[in-house]
């Protein structure tokens, strides 16, 4: 029984890891783009991006997940019932129910990109102006200054808050359960429904704990690697 549960939960945890990895893959670069937007010298862009970040960070991820999953379906229903259908409403009606996993990915990527963007922004704005100016008087281009002078310093600065956020992401993946994506919590809850046992649910904690432990070691290693200098 124990072995069965372990293997079954491992399958569920596979989905958990999938959500985790894909979110990182897309949210890390997207966050950088958003951070450039929130630092834009062009006011409307800055204002718009910062409002977006405020909304995303100011509402629960669970709510965002629900809206992204149910929203399109509701719109689709409404469009199908419109009395004088046109091309647009017909297209909307065709959407139907959103794919669950896709909804999870959209919600997680947007949510985490918003958080990452603020970490990037803090890292970039924390670099003293003298570093840019030193690069300028040495005849470097803006691109060279960013990649050769600033970037490494930004990375060093953002590693601690990033590792914090990424470890939070591991546990946030459990929110996918709210729209019945079969991740590890959902798998464990199935045992309650079908077998009347609750211990597999408790057991899932071990998976999270182990994975977060590995990440902690990894980030500790990176931090140590970058410890050869102080700014």
């Amino acid at each position: 029984m124990f072995l069965d549960v372990t293997l079954e939960l491992l399958k569920g945890f596979g989905t958990t890891l999938q959500i985790f990895a894909l979110t990182l893959l897309f949210a890390l670069p997207l966050g950088l783009i958003i951070s450039f937007g929130s630092m834009s010298r062009f006011r409307p862009v800055r204002w718009l991006v910062r409002t977006f970040v405020w909304i995303i960070r100011g509402t629960p991820l669970m709510l965002q997940l629900i809206i992204i999953f149910y929203g399109p379906g509701l719109l689709s229903n409404w469009a199908a019932a419109v009395e004088n259908p046109n091309v647009f409403t017909q297209w909307l009606a065709g959407i139907g129910v959103m794919d669950r996993f896709l909804a999870v990915m959209i919600a997680f990527v947007i949510n985490y990109a918003a958080y990452f963007s603020e970490i990037y922004r803090g890292g970039i704005e924390g670099i003293p102006r003298g570093q840019y100016e030193a690069g300028q008087v040495l005849g470097m281009t803006k691109t060279q200054i960013f990649f050769k002078v600033v970037l490494m310093q930004v990375i060093k600065r953002i590693i601690p808050p990033m590792s914090n956020e990424i470890i939070t992401l591991v546990k946030d993946t459990s929110l996918a359960r709210i729209i019945s994506v079969y991740e590890v919590i959902w798998t464990a809850q199935n045992y309650i429904k079908l077998d009347g046992i609750i211990w597999p649910l408790f057991y899932t904690g071990a998976y999270y704990l182990l994975f977060c432990g590995i990440l902690t070691l990894l980030f500790g290693y990176i931090e140590k690697k970058l410890d050869y200098y102080r700014s």
Partner: protein, 258 residues
């Protein structure tokens, strides 16, 4: 003809007029010391020369080439400004070394990027490194090639910054209060290095609060007050026989022993 001719430079930040028409000329191999109280516009002047700020009016002519002309309203492209900057080097008050690179890398980075040296070009890289090592030796830090800035004292960091600026062989090397962040002992070692450069025929502009340095090392002294050149001349003239009231008051205060 003078190496550098600065004519009637004006600079305004918002409503504050920081430079109200600065003019001076500098011959090749000369050391110019700019003295004056804080807020008199010394740093802004250096920043205008290095194109970290764009002057509002006036002109900067170097070796017969007009680098800046306030009459010309067309803004130069980033690329052109970058090329013009290379005529000048700037050593900052706060060093601004790149913390993630060691001493040798700090000195070679800009040169490698400027000549777009690829990693495969071993010959060119070796030449750049040899060049950098010679400069680092000149500032007395040959034993610190692999040290990171955080492992160096302020004086050592500033000496690396000087080597870094020299690596691009600027026509004129500017110093913006190079010793203001250092204690007296470290100040001495940095000033010694700057003095050593004089004998190698470098042209320098040094903004400083070190009156003895200005007196003993400079060929020419400018006293700035309130955005204007209040007095200019040889050290003997400015320190020995100041004419302006403001100069006299400033020198009296700065030479007063406590």
């Amino acid at each position: 003809m003078a190496l550098l001719e600065v004519n009637n430079i004006h600079k305004q930040f918002g409503k504050t007029e920081v430079l109200k028409g600065i003019s001076f000329a500098l011959e090749k191999g000369e050391v110019l010391a700019i003295i004056g109280s804080s807020g008199s516009g010394k740093t802004t002047l250096l920043r205008c020369l290095n194109f970290l700020e764009t002057a509002d009016r006036g002109s900067i002519v170097l070796n017969g080439e007009t680098l800046f002309d306030g009459e010309n309203t067309r803004r130069d492209s980033e690329d052109i400004i970058r090329k013009k900057r290379l005529h000048f080097g700037l050593v900052f008050q706060s060093f601004n070394l790149f913390p993630q690179y060691n001493v040798l890398q700090n000195v070679t980075l800009a040169v490698k990027l400027l000549h777009k040296v690829s990693r495969k070009n071993k010959e060119m890289l070796a030449k750049i490194e040899a060049d950098a090592k010679a400069l680092i030796d000149r500032v007395g830090l040959s034993d610190k090639l692999k040290a990171y800035p955080c492992e160096l004292s302020g004086g050592q960091q500033q000496r690396v910054a000087i080597a870094r600026a020299l690596a691009l062989h600027p026509d004129i090397l500017c110093f913006d209060e190079p010793t203001s962040a250092l204690d007296p002992e470290l100040t001495g070692e940095v000033l010694k290095v700057i003095k050593g450069l004089k004998s190698s025929d470098s042209t320098m502009i040094v903004v400083t609060h070190e009156m003895n340095f200005a007196k003993n090392v400079a060929d020419k002294v400018i006293f700035m007050a309130d955005g204007r050149v209040e007095e200019t001349g040889t050290p003997d003239e400015v320190f020995g026989n100041p004419k302006s009231e403001k100069t006299i008051a400033f020198l009296q205060k700065s030479l007063e022993q406590i």
